[in-house]
């Protein structure tokens, strides 16, 4: 059964002659437990798809189904219990004047949990940060530690789908390896479904089972990771993207 299903998704910004069609007729399907990648250059609309799913891009048309439920124009609380997002820049996505405890505590409160104290400890543990990080502020954490807090915050509501928008592109390669391993472990433990946006084909190749290649708002190709490894892209644009990344 598909956990997330997107069909004929269009997202646009602006009106009249200023209208920009960021995503055009995007259709894909992610079965439960799969990890699905979205790749493409900046401006190709890959992050916009994630934003449309979470309700951060209000002007869209088409059909988005999460766990069999069709999404309307507004997202309800049940939606955010199922779907959560991790953003690209851990330096920007945490409130600079809220401690880790406040960030996670507030999220848990909003999700309606009562045993907040125990859950904060558990969450920090799950993402590999000990209790000593609980009362720190973002500026007292490294980039990798901040991203771990952002992941903990996303996990607070015990979601089934995690949308990952370039979760490691702001991090060093050594830290990237740690975060990718953490995401792999979490997916295995909690049987999560991932949709991951990245411009790094090697990262997507490592994390995902299937991926969609995007260009100018359109999905030009959906392929298996095995096909990616064997360099068997069929669309000329994906071939070019592969060439550029392998060379680098």
């Amino acid at each position: 059964m598909s956990m997330l299903s997107v069909s004929d998704l269009n997202v646009w910004f602006g009106t009249g002659r200023d209208r920009v069609d960021a995503v055009r007729d995007a259709t894909f399907d992610v079965p439960a437990g799969e990890s699905f990648g979205l790749v493409g250059e900046s401006g190709s609309g890959k992050s916009t798809i994630l934003r449309a799913i979470t309700g951060l891009a209000p002007t869209w048309s088409g059909r988005i189904e999460v766990n069999g439920m069709t999404l309307g124009p507004r997202r309800d609380r049940a939606f955010y219990k199922t779907v959560q997002m991790v953003f690209q820049d851990p330096y920007a996505s945490l409130h600079p004047r809220h401690s880790v405890d406040a960030v996670l505590g507030e999220t848990l409160h909003l999700h309606g949990f009562k045993d907040i104290d125990a859950r904060v400890v558990k969450l920090l543990d799950d993402v590999g940060l000990g209790g000593q990080f609980r009362f720190r502020y973002p500026h007292q954490l490294s980039g990798g530690q901040r991203q771990r807090v952002a992941i903990a915050r996303a996990l607070a509501g015990e979601p089934e789908i995690l949308l990952l928008d370039e979760p490691t592109s702001a991090l060093d390669v050594s830290v990237q390896a740690e975060i990718l391993n953490l995401l792999t472990d979490l997916r295995a433990e909690r049987s999560l479904t991932y949709v991951m946006v990245s411009h790094d084909l090697a990262v997507v190749g490592h994390m995902c089972g299937r991926l969609a290649v995007m260009k100018d708002g359109r999905i030009v190709e959906i392929m298996d990771v095995q096909a990616l490894r064997d360099r068997q892209a069929t669309h000329p644009y994906s071939q070019e993207l592969l060439r550029n990344s392998i060379g680098a």
């Binding site: 390669v173 190749g205 490592h206 392998i246």
Partner: protein, 284 residues
């Protein structure tokens, strides 16, 4: 004959907890080559680049036995004389074009200003040089770009404009600090090949600072690998994958690879001894 000769460079920041050494005893020479400096954030690679131009603000302290550009020691120069070095003899391209271009000045005016600071020329002559410079970095329709403001440019174009601006005075050395990390892979290639061509055609020395090992291996001639303010290893760029230092090996192994799928990525295990070992000399 080397263009630049750095001996025993230290960058220190006094803090309440004592002096913090950001760069510790780094020595290297730069000829007419592409020298890569790689390392993680906080390894001191950017500080090394800035220290050469004496761009470390007080209370930061730059110390070295010498930083020789040609025959002159940059450390002996007055602040006024340094201004004749910065931009004219050694140029620097920073990571993000958004922060290095003046947002309220047309690109053309910025380029013309850069040229006229270096050369005694009228506006007209400067304008044609600026347009040539934009053409040299493969910008289509340079006339239009001259009239545009920085926010109307994409990241890749902005970075190419920065490179054009840095090259107008025809410097001997270009220091590029993560010049492509804000760009897409496809644009990255373009910008690199433009830089490569300019460096080869003009016989410049290039210091290329990056955290991307594969990129450096591909693009540079020689690589210094830095860890906590020291150079831990020096190698030929095409032999980077045969590097021997455990830190370099760890970094290489932590990269996911398309051709070698693996369940878990190797995580770098740091050895405190790496930070204590003396700096390796990067003299050619």
């Amino acid at each position: 004959m080397s263009l630049l000769d750095v001996e025993n460079l230290w960058v220190k920041f006094p803090t309440r907890q004592g002096v913090f050494d950001a760069v510790r005893g780094v020595s290297f020479t730069l000829g007419k080559e592409r020298l890569g400096i790689v390392g993680e954030s906080g390894s001191g690679k950017s500080m090394t680049g800035r220290a050469i131009l004496r761009l470390i603000r007080p209370p930061g302290i730059v110390q070295a036995d010498h930083i020789k550009l040609g025959g002159d020691d940059l450390l002996q120069k007055s602040e006024k004389d340094m201004r004749a070095v910065r931009g004219q003899r050694i140029s620097m391209v920073m990571q993000d074009p958004k922060f290095s271009l003046n947002p309220v000045m047309r690109i053309g005016d910025q380029l013309i200003e850069a040229y006229r600071l270096a050369n005694k020329s009228d506006r007209k002559g400067a304008k044609s040089t600026a347009i040539e410079a934009l053409e040299a970095v493969s910008i289509r329709d340079p006339e239009r770009v001259m009239r545009a403001y920085p926010h109307e440019m994409s990241g890749g174009m902005g970075q190419r404009i920065m490179i054009a601006m840095m090259l107008i005075p025809d410097p001997e050395i270009l220091i590029a600090d993560e010049p492509t990390s804000a760009l897409d892979v496809s644009v990255q290639r373009q910008v690199l090949s433009i830089m490569d061509k300019l460096v080869t055609d003009r016989g410049m020395g290039l210091i290329f600072i990056s955290h991307d090992l594969n990129l450096v291996a591909d693009f540079c001639d020689r690589v210094l690998i830095m860890y906590s303010g020291r150079v831990v290893e020096v190698c030929q760029a095409d032999r980077l994958h045969e590097a021997t230092h455990p830190y370099t090996r760890g970094l290489l192994k932590s990269l996911p690879r398309l051709d070698q799928p693996q369940g878990k990525l190797q995580v770098l295990k740091r050895d405190p001894a790496w930070a204590d070992a003396p700096s390796v000399s990067g003299r050619a």
